[in-house]
């Protein structure tokens, strides 16, 4: 089975900190995605990547950036964390519309 691993389950960061959320998949998938999940809003796409060093903005990219230096790793970066970025962050990988495989999520609290 494909495994998508997010490095942290819970994080607490201070306002203004630079935050890195790491995601690694072990099945050589081309496509990777970052979503945030908030009550009543469902999952919203932040950024996605179809290949190494390639990135595309999703629906809510403001305040975020991403890095994909290796195929298996897709990092989400909060350049200067703010309280409105407190959320659950979910990473996913996909092989050609076969359904996404999600990590367990990182619950980020910005204080």
């Amino acid at each position: 089975d494909v495994k998508v691993t997010q490095s942290s389950r819970y994080l607490v960061k201070r306002t203004g900190e630079k935050v890195f959320l790491e995601c690694v998949q072990d099945m050589d998938h081309e496509n990777m995605f970052w979503y945030r999940q908030d009550p009543g809003l469902g999952l919203r796409l932040i950024y996605f990547s179809y290949d190494v060093k390639m990135k595309e903005k999703g629906d809510i990219p403001e305040g975020y950036s991403v890095s994909r230096e290796k195929k298996e790793r897709f990092s989400l970066i909060l350049e200067s964390a703010s309280t409105n970025q407190t959320s659950m962050y979910l990473c996913a990988s996909e092989q050609v519309r076969d359904g996404y495989t999600f990590g367990s999520g990182t619950r980020l609290t910005v204080v």
């Binding site: 979503y35 009543g40 469902g42 999952l43 519309r97 996404y100 367990s104």
Partner: protein, 112 residues
């Protein structure tokens, strides 16, 4: 714009009762459609998917879903709910943008 709508925010059923969770989509062409389940504090697990062909698809944990083009629906069903089915359920679709779009989710509560 392409969208997926789950009209029910919260549903409560008794254990052993049947279940239907509603999902409507808005896509120009036939989309790829999915149902995911999320237990508290966990990531999302794929229950089933529809790409083409037979409009009734079977998934894991005894779930099934039926694609109805005339109603733009992809409702999830289970004939007899178990207490362990209590979770949040997400319908999602991929259209011509190649991006997976989620509904806002339906929280299922199961009473003994």
């Amino acid at each position: 714009a392409q969208s997926v709508t789950q009209p029910d925010i919260h549903i409560t059923v008794s254990e052993g009762a049947s279940l239907e969770l509603r999902c409507n989509y808005s896509y120009g062409a036939t989309p790829y459609l999915f149902w995911y389940v999320q237990s508290p504090g966990q990531g999302l697990q794929l229950l089933l998917k529809y790409f083409s062909g037979d409009t009734l698809v079977q998934g894991i944990k005894g779930f099934e879903a039926e694609f109805k083009r005339s109603q733009s629906s992809f409702n999830l069903r289970k004939p007899s709910v178990h207490w362990s089915d209590a979770a949040e359920y997400f319908c999602a679709g991929v259209g011509d943008t190649d991006k997976l779009i989620f509904g806002t989710g339906t929280r299922l509560q199961v009473f003994p």
